[in-house]
């Protein structure tokens, strides 16, 4: 049900029946390493190319989530997914393997929550009993497509971010046990004229703040409603800026714990990730691996995940265009009977 200008309130309380997180070696060495379902110690995931490796991660995460939900592929009505690669090949090719009716979406690194919001909306509206939301990214495919060859020796500035290798998937169900998706806010594209592709955090921070403020306005909530609010991949620079912007706009963010998935997944003091993490999988594996486990265990009751995405292409920044950004928020709360 539409609430306010750009939010959905899910009155039929779709639940996340099961969720999975599959990551690469660097993520496994990070502080959340123990929370992930599968940690691969080989970046190639046993595949011939980086692109195949990313696809393999997506397939593994999807199958794992379906299996953990006690279902099989034929019971999942729709798969909503996307990724960072040209023509979202990782998700589409994974959907070919899974054989589930598929909707490909692109929101760059905000795809995790965009797909989850859409899956929840489909289930809430009675369009499916089970829907799968998923996304993936791979450090080497992102480097190859957006930056330089992976083995090229260029010095990254301190504002740069490290794309997470991993995939996350969630099975959204009409009923059953599990954390409930209660609301979602779809963001608009915000562009404050930042052009530096090595400073995505600064480019994305205004989009995250825009969506956060829209969410609080539409649902009549304040930050204190949530135990935890996390942004997707603003990392150190963007997180800092977003705090400043929230303060400037009079949002009492100090009422809650406010963090960023891009800061949680790596330990910046001992891992070579510059400002922190980025990538579709960043918010996906932190939300599906770490946060959902905390909700299930009762440590957290209400969490808002605001996944952030930079909607640029290598072509657009080489042509001197600024970086348009977006953020989508999904509110996940502890189910009644857990």
């Amino acid at each position: 049900m539409l609430k306010g200008q750009q939010s959905w309130l899910f009155q039929n309380r779709p639940v996340i029946r099961a969720a999975s997180s599959v990551v690469g070696p660097e993520e496994g060495r990070g502080p959340l390493g123990a929370d992930f379902d599968v940690v691969h110690d080989d970046l190639t995931i046993g595949q011939k190319s980086w692109e195949q490796a990313e696809r393999a991660l997506m397939e593994e995460a999807a199958k794992l989530a379906i299996q953990q939900a006690g279902l099989n592929e034929s019971q999942i009505r729709f798969f909503v997914g996307g990724d960072l690669l040209d023509q979202i090949i990782s998700s589409s090719f994974a959907a070919r393997t899974l054989g589930i009716p598929y909707m490909g979406v692109f929101g760059a690194c905000s795809t995790s929550m965009e797909s989850l919001a859409l899956a929840a909306q489909i289930v809430d509206a009675g369009g499916a009993d089970y829907a799968l939301a998923g996304t993936c990214s791979h450090n080497c495919t992102a480097e190859k497509q957006f930056r330089y060859p992976t083995e090229y020796g260029s010095q990254k500035p301190p504002t740069a971010q490290y794309t997470v290798t991993g995939a996350g998937a969630a099975v959204v169900a009409r009923d059953g046990e599990g954390p409930v998706i209660t609301a979602a806010t779809i963001g608009r594209v915000v562009d404050m004229g930042i052009k530096d592709p090595f400073n995505m955090g600064a480019a994305m921070a205004p989009a995250a703040v825009d969506t956060l403020m829209a969410h609080f306005r539409d649902l009549g909530r304040s930050p204190g409603y949530y135990d935890l609010i996390v942004t997707g991949d603003l990392a150190a620079v963007g997180h800092d800026i977003s705090l400043e912007l929230l303060k400037k706009n009079g949002v009492p963010i100090e009422e809650t714990t406010y963090s960023d998935c891009g800061l949680m997944i790596f330990d910046r003091s001992r891992q070579p990730v510059q400002a922190g993490a980025s990538g579709c999988a960043c918010s996906a594996v932190v939300a599906y691996g770490h946060i959902l486990k905390r909700i299930r265990s009762g440590e957290l009751n209400r969490v808002l995940v605001v996944a952030t995405g930079a909607l640029l292409s290598p072509l657009s920044y080489q042509q001197g265009e600024s970086i348009p950004c977006i953020a989508h928020a999904v509110s996940i709360e502890r189910g009644g009977n857990e």
């Binding site: 011939k48 190319s49 980086w50 692109e51 190859k144 330089y148 060859p149 992976t150 083995e151 090229y152 020796g153 260029s154 010095q155 990254k156 500035p157 301190p158 504002t159 562009d191 404050m192 004229g193 930042i194 400073n199 600064a202 921070a205 205004p206 150190a236 620079v237 800092d240 800026i241 400043e244 912007l245 070579p272 400002a275 001197g320 265009e321 600024s322």
Partner: protein, 159 residues
């Protein structure tokens, strides 16, 4: 915002860009210079050592000893790139590993490795100069211009 430079950004954007700039951690310029000097210098020392060895032990004369020296440095760089080490050294060394001939070799080798999955012709052949290509183009253009200047101004300098 199609071609939006800072001049035609609106006031809100200008204000935000100033805030973002103030929050941006600066590159450690002085430290980077020192690191580049040390690693770049070490690579040159290694090159000099190889050259001396070529002259003293392999019978090259001073003019010709540069050829095997460059070949060996390129070979070493390609080995380090293939082992996945060169980019890690480069993150520390910056221009120190980018400027010498080893950096050029790394740019060609890394692109060739990266695009091997797209095949030998379209992948390796079509992409291995995608980073080095501009160095070759503008190096040639610069040499051409200097050559013309030298022709006009007269011989001068050199031999």
């Amino acid at each position: 915002m199609a071609n939006g430079s800072k001049q035609n950004a609106n006031p809100a954007q200008q204000q935000y860009q100033a805030l973002a700039k103030s929050k941006e951690p600066k590159r450690p310029l002085l430290l980077n210079c020192v690191r580049a000097f040390v690693t770049g210098g070490l690579i040159c020392v290694l090159g000099q050592a190889i050259m001396e060895a070529m002259i003293h032990w392999f019978g090259y004369d001073k003019m010709k000893a540069g050829d095997p020296t460059v070949a060996i440095l390129i070979f070493l760089s390609v080995i380090l790139t293939s082992l996945g080490v060169y980019d890690k050294i480069a993150q520390w060394a910056g221009a120190g590993t980018a400027v010498p001939v080893t950096g050029f070799a790394n740019s060609v080798c890394s692109a060739a490795l990266e695009h091997r999955s797209e095949g030998l012709v379209l992948g390796v052949g079509g992409n291995m100069f995608k980073l080095a290509g501009s160095v070759i183009v503008f190096g040639t253009v610069a040499a051409f211009i200097i050559g013309i200047i030298r022709a006009i101004v007269g011989e001068g300098g050199g031999s």
